[in-house]
């Protein structure tokens, strides 16, 4: 009897819910941050329920490939680290363009020219060091000394979207190129895994230096970890955590609302609270972070990166003996 009542109640609530729209979001943001973002959005749009799934960017790509092979991608909206994986999806015709997207005041470098994906915040990749055991450095040249052999740790572009952008930005830079990775190789550094473990190795003193993301390092530093972040003098690479709408979605309106929210002043302020630099210049950078104008950034031609991606990954694997 009780079971019947429960079932009935469940069915009722299911009908009530169906009056709302359920939006499925795949994201690579950390669980805490993803939850904050979704909560803030749903508070503003009570008629839309966002169901989100968090996974690493590469894993998400695997899931979507498998979903596609088996009959169709389940996600409506995507919020992942890098524009290269998104560029690949765009090339396959899987992303929906939104020409009227609210992009006023935002630097065109931050979004796709065909308006299929839009940067939501700026994260830089630079150098992290352990303040207790390592001497400060200012750039890649300082770091890549023979004395530091075996003391550097880096994330793998085969795994992390941020590291993938890092690789392509360096490859497109005339003064860096493959020399950067060959130097890492001679220093005995094998890039592996994501950015979290790198930070952990440096903060824990297993390694003196690491290649890492500014927001993550500053968050750890604020919490008390003995770490410091350096924007390299040669230039820091950066990625924009783009948001994109899948072409197969039947919830275009809700998806538009989500993208608008992320790009709105309110959404940008939330990103700042989470420790990221905003893409909207009207919103100020978080405390402890320099203004965009104070650091040198290495640009990335995403289309070129997409075109060269397969070859670059193969070459990377070759250097590090995958």
């Amino acid at each position: 009897m009780r079971l019947t009542v429960t079932t009935f109640a469940l069915m009722l609530s299911a009908t009530a819910v169906s009056a709302q729209t359920t939006l499925t979001l795949y994201t690579s943001q950390s669980p805490e941050i993803a939850q904050q973002t979704v909560d803030a959005f749903m508070a503003k749009h009570p008629d839309i329920i966002v169901e989100w799934m968090r996974n690493g960017t590469s894993q998400l790509m695997n899931i979507m490939t498998a979903e596609q092979e088996a009959g169709g991608i389940k996600a409506d909206v995507l919020l992942v680290a890098d524009s290269i994986n998104l560029g690949t999806l765009k090339q396959q015709g899987l992303l929906l363009a939104w020409p009227e997207a609210p992009l006023e005041g935002i630097d065109p470098l931050m979004y796709d020219a065909d308006k299929t994906f839009f940067g939501t915040k700026i994260s830089s990749t630079g150098i992290v060091y352990n303040t207790q055991i390592a001497a400060p450095v200012t750039g890649w040249a300082d770091l890549f000394q023979d004395a530091n052999a075996g003391q550097i740790v880096a994330p793998s572009p085969l795994y992390s979207g941020a590291a993938l952008v890092h690789m392509h930005s360096l490859l497109q830079d005339a003064s860096q190129g493959w020399g950067y990775y060959e130097r890492l190789n001679t220093l005995g550094v094998v890039p592996e895994g994501g950015n979290g473990p790198v930070l952990k190795a440096v903060a824990g003193g297993q390694m003196k230096y690491g290649v890492n993301i500014d927001a993550d390092v500053l968050r750890a530093k604020r919490a008390g970890s003995p770490v410091e972040f350096v924007y390299p003098t040669e230039g820091a690479t950066f990625f924009t955590e783009p948001v994109a709408i899948l072409a197969g979605t039947d919830k275009v309106e809700a998806a538009h609302a989500f993208v608008s929210f992320i790009l709105s002043e309110e959404g940008q302020k939330l990103a700042v609270e989470q420790g990221y630099m905003p893409v909207d210049p009207k919103v100020a950078s978080p405390e402890g972070m320099p203004a965009l104008s104070e650091i040198k950034l290495m640009p990335l031609d995403a289309d070129r990166a997409v075109a060269e991606d397969t070859e670059a990954r193969a070459k990377f694997t070759e250097i590090f003996g995958g």
């Binding site: 950390s30 968090r54 075996g150 003193g205 193969a314």
Partner: protein, 575 residues
Amino acid sequence: MSSISHSKGAPRAPLFRISSERIVLALLALLILSVSVAPMLRLAQAALLDDDGLAIERLTKLFLRPQTGAAIWNTIQISLTSTLVSLLVGTIFAVIMVQTDLRGKSALVFAFVLPLMIPPQVTAMAWIQAFSPSSPVLGLLGLSMEAGTRHPLYSKTGIILLLGIYNAPLVYLAMQASLRRIPMDLAEAARAAGAGPLRVLLTVILPLARGGMVAAASLAFVSAIGNFGIQAMLGIPARVPTLIIQIYQQINGLGPSALLNMAALSLVLAALTVAGVLLAGRAGDRNDTRVDLVSRPLMLPLGRAGIVIAVLLWGYQIVSLLLPLSALLQTSLVPAYGLPLTAETITLKNYISALFQQVSLRNAFVTSLWLTLFTMGFLMLSSVFLGYFLAWRRGPLVRLLHFGSEAAYTLPGITLGVAMILLFLRPLPGVGISIYGTPWIILAAYVAGFFALALRPVLSGYAQIDRALEEAAQVAGAGFLRRMRDVIWPLIAPTAIAAAVIVFMTAINEIQTSILLISSGTRTIGPMIIFLEEGGASTLAAAVGCLMILGVLTLMLLSTALSRFLPKGVLPWQF
């Protein structure tokens, strides 16, 4: 409806009666064919076929790469040697625990089994930390290495050692059930004839336990082959490519064709393991030991050596359990990673956050727990039934089911995850509902992935049951289910529950399969630890890890407290 042909209670005509035995077999077949065999076939199809037939070009290219050959060779070498390590450690431990009069066994076994519940990634991380220049433990002893020296664990030997130690409890669990059931008359006779304990051990006990040993070795072998956590954490920096690392790099590295290459490499991995298991099966079949349940176990007296042995065993626990566990605990108690644990820095904020603030974490705990318990109970029951058919009713269908369960177990978690998505994303035929995105797909993956894990110890248990008992019951007119309940179950229960414990411990910290299958409503705890770790929240991840261990510990203690309601000898750590 109008003509009821026979009155209530009268025997029905045999022609219309399907025996309960057949129904059970049919259900088992349906289960294994749909969750194990079908995903394997789907994967094989993806791996071997292109749109226009056999993908000869793609496969040639893949297998002609020098890395592929090296990976296959490394995988075989590492899995075999680490199995030897596990077998050595696990067997020594099992023999001492079951056959000697050592004191304080329960605590030792408890501690010995516990590391199985720490996810391999976390174990590897803790070991790396323990041997690093900043190691808290080695630093205390003045043994820490200089910064910049090559880490000793980043080597083939390091991988073998860690895999061996990680899987040793599996060997122990599989072996002790069979050791406990060896008839002791023979050993007693040997003792009476003047043989020393070591001689009794080598010439009587171990030969009698060979079936259990082979089952244990094949468990350790397959677990080593598929242990992504340890292989990746140590193997990538050490530049020792193995098949599972290659699969991982293929899937992450090469775009859309990766899925197909990954499937092909997974098939190689599956073939290797099935070959190993079949070989082990042949070796095991030749030895069919019967047990005499009434004989009391013989206790070899250790005398003074007992103290030395106890010290050595506890020393092993300190290295294999305390070292990684203390690193984990220390991390969970500081506000930010890298801070030393002092009176000023100690905090419970990670625990408070994990338990009360992060709703998704709490849900993941609950989901993992019920999925694991459900899988455990279901597999225990199913493997007792399938074990019956495998032991005494072998036929082509039963053989196929055995093979299917073994093959699915050999798939790396990540591959099984992909196969499950490929198979179950579309609505199920007839029902029209897709189980993708629900807990049921994870459950299906767990059942497929862990069936062999439950089945192997149970099979070695069946090998020790005298079938005459069951046949006598059959002659006396007991039906199949009745015989299972009244004759087989009491005999097989200790092994079945040991198998269930193995399944529980493996499933509760499972990561690779569920990381691809979790969805917004269904999160399991293993992947959550990885996500937190990736997001830089290491201290929170450590707290979640500690809570997991605490949870399992509670379950273990609870079952110990309730053990008087269970058949004797059921809990692996109780004597």
